[in-house]
Assembly symmetry: C2
Homo-oligomer: 360 residues x 2
């Protein structure tokens, strides 16, 4: 069965400011020194999914940037533009309809464009299993990450203890429930139980199968998707999408489908995954020196420990400091206590309120 | 009697790195947002000393930079170039000889080019007294600063308790001794005694009088100065200076003359003086917000206290930090615990050892 990759690249979050900007969201950043997160996501899929079968769904605002970033890696007509950000259900439904109507049914994997994976081979092994699983069964397959610490920053997937003997690979577990980000105590319990995996937001299913779930669980969205689908290949396609898309029900696929469907299985992955959700996560991307300092770009330090520095052009010199994140943005320098990384959004809001848009 | 101003601008210190660089020492920096420290020093003298009678002595390496900085404020032939840095005695002796031989005797005031003075009027009042004092008597007049805290970073001048009734102004005190930077306990004793003033390095005397002191206390330097003086106005002047200067005895005027002369008096000044000796001194130049944060350039902060930030181009965003100095240099970002400001020189040494000269 044909395999497709769908990379969601429409995000415009502020949690990675000042590296991410309104005009340059995180998926377009080069955080590893190798390539943009989007291109790294594409390249990572290639052992399992042919490049000509990979799609990027992005916001209209980032379409040009996406073309420029992927530079011929993908077919131009595989870059799909959303006229408005309507959360992941709409995005995935649109891509499923695109595949089914234009290319025929197939197994599609859904991936974020701004996550980090250390072990590409390990990832590909699990993705291969997931693809096989979704091909042989009509199930919704999700890849859960074996927790490496009791994170309060991720949602969890609770799986059945026993593996699911009915599945093709024999390594999938039925999913009992999806749970939201836990408090510290609950996270510890999840971590030690062994039945909880991090929800990575990676899904694999047949285009036809997920659209059936839309019909069943999100019929309003399904109706919109059908109208879009009917326009596909006609002269009106763009116009119809522009008309319908901005009003599609805004809901995540997790909340709208995964938490409610009864045919969800999870495969466990352990390949150094991170959603790189806030600046402190940069620490996971770079090696540590003998004092636990991590850096991208030039750093020199004296009596400094457990600091993360990121700079493109400038040397970052640190003296007598600990547990700091120091980031050189294009027009901003951020110095942030490590466990306050999530509060950059408050600074962004402050700047927005003060009309200092040039820094955003 | 004619009054002259001598501004010493040959320094190339590293204590203000990364703002000061080898190619742009502190005296050429604009730390206040108004003008370079050198130009502010010149402008500050103008109520007491005519601009056409002000000299700058600098190192050959900075002569062009000095011309460019003072931009017609001074007579071009009043910018004197030292072929080598030989400490303050040589510099002052050279300037005194220049004045005596080329313009005739007069009262000369000696000033650093990289100090900060908040209250220019107060400064000019004391300078006027000092000029009068040096004119009426053949004494070495120094301006001591009333301490505002028990600093361990300044040398002190111990004065006689009684004012010196012999002096013209009646407000001078004879100097008992010059003392080096004290430890914290001694500094406290000095501070509470009332007999100790900070040694600001500002001196006023007749050119003829200081040269007599050279003859008496530093005869080797005096001999060199005479040879330079004899060449002045001849075609060989430059050549002679280039030959002699690099070998002049290297000693400070404090150590070579002030601590040993018996005709030294001190006038007390209280005009918001600082030698801006290390980056933490920037705090004294800028107003504080309600959390004690001080800034030059744009700063935005959240749960941040007692931090100093300096940036020319970029916004500095601070989250959850305290007692930091954050500086955007041209090619470096420094983040330094406030009481470690003096340790930037260790970073400079490290970079030098690693051959990373572009950052120096």
């Amino acid at each position: 069965m044909k395999r497709y990759g769908i990379i969601m690249a429409g995000g415009s979050g502020t949690r990675f400011w000042p590296l991410s900007r309104k005009k340059l969201p995180k998926q377009f950043l080069n955080l590893t020194g190798k390539d943009s997160m989007l291109n790294e996501t594409i390249d990572r899929l290639l052992p399992v999914i042919a490049g000509e079968d990979i799609f990027v769904v992005t916001n209209e605002a980032y379409t040009e940037l996406t073309y420029g970033t992927v530079e011929g890696r993908l077919r131009p007509d595989h870059i799909l533009s959303e006229p408005a950000a309507r959360n992941t259900a709409a995005c995935i439904g649109y891509a499923a309809m695109e595949i089914l109507r234009k290319y025929g049914d197939g197994v599609m994997g859904i991936f974020a464009s701004d996550h980090y994976i250390r072990d590409t081979e390990g990832f590909c092994r699990v993705l291969e299993q997931a693809m096989t699983e979704a091909e042989r069964t009509d199930r919704l397959v999700t890849i859960g990450i074996r927790p490496t610490f009791p994170s309060t920053g991720y949602g969890y997937i609770r799986r059945e203890t026993k593996t699911d003997a009915d599945t093709g690979t024999g390594e999938a577990h039925k999913v009992k429930e999806f749970v939201e980000k836990p408090d510290a105590e609950t996270a510890k319990a999840y971590f030690s139980s062994g039945d909880y995996l991090w929800n990575s937001g990676m899904f694999v299913w047949k285009a036809s199968v997920i659209l059936e779930q839309f019909a069943k669980l999100l019929p309003d969205i399904y109706a919109d998707l059908l109208r879009i689908g009917d326009s596909m290949g006609t002269a009106q396609e763009k116009e119809v999408i522009r008309e319908i898309y901005p009003n599609i029900h805004k809901i995540s696929v997790d909340y709208g489908i995964m938490e409610r469907a009864d045919n969800v299985v999870v495969l466990e992955g352990d390949f150094g995954w991170s959603d790189v959700g806030s600046l402190d996560a940069l620490g996971g991307l770079y090696p540590s020196d003998e004092n636990g300092n991590q850096r991208f770009g030039e750093q020199v330090s004296l009596d400094t420990a457990e600091c993360i520095s990121y700079s493109k052009d400038k040397l970052i010199a640190l003296i007598g400091v600990k547990d700091l994140i120091v980031v050189e943005g294009e027009e901003t320098i951020l110095v942030c206590e490590k466990n306050r990384a999530q509060d950059v959004k408050q600074i962004v809001e402050k700047l927005e309120a003060d009309g200092k848009m040039r820094y955003l």
